[in-house]
Symmetry: C2
Subunit: 170 residues, 2 copies
Amino acid sequence: MKETSLSPEEKDLFMNEAIKEAHKALRLAEVPIGAVVVLNKEIIGRGYNLKETTQSAVKHAEMIAIQEACDQVASWRLENAQLFVTLEPCPMCSGAILQSRIEEVYFGAFDPKAGACGSLMNLLEDTRFNHWCYVESGVLSTTCSTLLRDFFKKIRTKKKQKKKEMLEKD
Amino acid sequence: MKETSLSPEEKDLFMNEAIKEAHKALRLAEVPIGAVVVLNKEIIGRGYNLKETTQSAVKHAEMIAIQEACDQVASWRLENAQLFVTLEPCPMCSGAILQSRIEEVYFGAFDPKAGACGSLMNLLEDTRFNHWCYVESGVLSTTCSTLLRDFFKKIRTKKKQKKKEMLEKD
């Protein structure tokens, strides 16, 4: 079993940075998900969900943070790095974590519909692959999940309002 | 169950285009893997493995082809599109296929070590996700696997040669 290399204070600190990234997504009306990649206690990659803004299926927070981290260290190997993300990674992002050899993954809220780090499956701790990670869930989970819940609640309210207006017009 | 929308001739035609992409990777001494995304019988995205050249963990052939296809149609939704790739996609690329709603996936050689479309798992036909695909393996498999086998054989020969030279020096 792999172990964490960070203190609880450090985990909260870096997850708060991921939450800051999630707020950037929110400001663009994107699903608020943010991520940072950390190496030697320093952030080397940041990302937030840009799927709608860029109209790209692969522009998840984690993918952008991992790409920036690779650019930063000029290597596809992010050994000894940690990734912090507000929501449990999907299969694509979990696969990117394995590809980049990230050592530790910390996430806030679980994603029961598409999560691949414990919910539907656990790609990061599957020892059949040539790399696996230390995984910790629930870091600042209330903040991370409230951010998402509020976002979807607002969308539902807007949809209801629109429907009501349409019915009143008829 | 989903069905194929292409004839055997069309499948060979598009896989040959993916093989052309794989050869571009080979010329850069990258693991020779290539991919194309097809929509309405036209190629809208091309990609070949650029992991070492770009030192990016996420620059697999499929990821590049999917990104190009999204750019081409200005949408993250690649519904009704097909992806052709010379090697069975890994979890990252399988996840990207799901994210982009690609409808049909055709691959050449199986990847028993990291394949996520039948070898270690089958992410593309997992009905727990909000999207799943038609998957067909073995399209021009001999050409696709020979390309990879020859590449790794050359690498092993080079390594042996180097070791021999080192021992002779001592």
